[in-house]
Symmetry: C2
Subunit: 392 residues, 2 copies
Amino acid sequence: MNRVYMDHAAATPVRRRVLDAMLPYFDREFGNPSTVYDMGSKVKQVVEGQREKVAELIGAKPGEIIFTSSGAEANNLAIKGVAFARQKKGDHLVISSIEHHSVLNSARFLERMGFEVAFLAVDKYGLVEPERLMEAIRPETILVSIMHANNEIGTIEPISEISSVCRENGVVFHTDGVATVGNIPVKVDKLGVDLLSLSGVSLGAPKGIGALYFRDRIRLMPLIHGGIQERGRRAGTENVPAIVGLGKALELAAEELANGVNGSRVREMRNTLVSGVQERIEHSKHTGHPEKRLPGHASFCFEAIEGEALLFMLSQGGVYANTGSACASKALKTSPVLAAIGIPPEVAQGSIVFTMNGSNRIEEVEYVLEKLPPAVERLRSFSPVWKKSMAA
Amino acid sequence: MNRVYMDHAAATPVRRRVLDAMLPYFDREFGNPSTVYDMGSKVKQVVEGQREKVAELIGAKPGEIIFTSSGAEANNLAIKGVAFARQKKGDHLVISSIEHHSVLNSARFLERMGFEVAFLAVDKYGLVEPERLMEAIRPETILVSIMHANNEIGTIEPISEISSVCRENGVVFHTDGVATVGNIPVKVDKLGVDLLSLSGVSLGAPKGIGALYFRDRIRLMPLIHGGIQERGRRAGTENVPAIVGLGKALELAAEELANGVNGSRVREMRNTLVSGVQERIEHSKHTGHPEKRLPGHASFCFEAIEGEALLFMLSQGGVYANTGSACASKALKTSPVLAAIGIPPEVAQGSIVFTMNGSNRIEEVEYVLEKLPPAVERLRSFSPVWKKSMAA
């Protein structure tokens, strides 16, 4: 076993077919899509073709897709773009307390700009309760943002129920679909969302690209002002190769979802990992919802150890996982997501997240189940906390 | 002559050596730089190495460089980032009336947010006069932004003089260096700037990448909020291949600038084109400053024709140029830059811009001088305006 990579939520290698699709647009077809001559208009058509494809895959219209440089940018554009465009209608936003940093910190920025933000509590599985949302919405609420699935604990939120509450109250609803699009079926109409962020980071798309779906009547203040690209909603020369890469990666992911390659097999590997860990490692906690979760997502907290030390030890044995969100790994001692679901800080410190996809194999899961228990045991043998709790 | 490409300000093919440098980071070294294990920290080192290189090339420190997704994003981050961070100190900004749309429209957004913006007039060459800037600065002025060189008329602004005025008045100064970095020597200390935007669009770097230099004491509100990437100043997974591509393209451009490949030869081609056009086409105007201009930049207005029609006709003969700014080509009938230098709208409509670099050859200039006059003549023969003015 050379390398067992189970950190697909943080990064994936660009797939061969994706890179092959991108290559012509670096040097052969390099025109600027905004130029009027054939070299430009040809590339413009390629970009519009990708827009149609991405739109179709999530059940949207091409004019409802804005390409961005990342899922984080799409989240920023959604939150700030709606807030600034609807400022005259109200100054109140509701987000969940387990949103990705790009949503959370966009909301905190808006607080500095005079908006008010309600942070919605979640239950012990990380689920948002629609009744609580109903109570949080006020006449001046202009936007609700609740993620489709959480990247740290894997829980999938009841988006259709949440969107119904928003619709009944006439509030615009955004969901961060970075963890779900391509991994589970996502159709904007079925979910009933007004805006949805996505990226291909976990799908073998290149870095540096994401997209925002916005229902066609939604007004948006641009985040990046300037030229007329993306119909005036996002300035900067279109990143043509990356747009082609995102389109191709989403297309392949959708095919594999449809023919079941990624569905049941990935779910089975995840279940094997979860039950194996629960059997083999005492004082461990499987975080997030047991069933309502991303197919390839397994997350745990092990008492009395440090997640980062565990990651480091595992990586020396060729196993790659994460402590939670790559974006936050050095910023925070304990995760606000784990705090929000009621995990005490001393347990939350021992957090580890495995994210698998169709490229993983069951043998890799078995290898992890071989390596993980002795690593946890070894770290615990160093831990004064562990000795104390064992002595008690 | 297969294709004569003289629209390098709008787009350039990614150079072979640049693409080769990028390729390993798509699939082999794909780790997320924010992860704690070796696969991530190795890639993190690569990103930091590029940051050091870019910093060194413009005479800055690595911690003063933020990678962005484009020059447009760098401009937005500079203008909005400084304005929001310094809001308590004042609410007044000064920009020139010929800034790129990404600066101009960022300033217009700030006007909607309650800031006041002074738009500085320029002379007939597009030069900002430092005395006028002095008059425009008020006690509550927090930021001045004047571009290093204008993309439509090629004029290079007296940045050192402008920065002296700003320094004397304690005002933060940003310059948009997208048109200059890599094309002429740029050192931030010599220019005396506090912030400088750059990209590699004209240098054979990939699309989807840019950078902002900010002097280390300058406070900046992030434009894209979220994780801890770029030391908390720009969220979103680092676009590793594109960062490597930008670094390599800037490195190659600096080498060629140093050994004179791009300097005198490009300037000579430009001069041949300018004098050739002036000799061969009557009622033409060479726009921008005759000497203080970008080496590969030649811009003209031809009376009584439409620039877009001319471009289209030229492209059918294999010659590719631009009407001005690619970002604005479909947005506006006449260019605000040409209006600002006093070109009447009916003349400004016949605008054409050639941007050459070291990949161009003198034979190509001769080819353009062969194709351009009959194209202008042909279009004028269709033009009622032309017939009328000839009859008068």
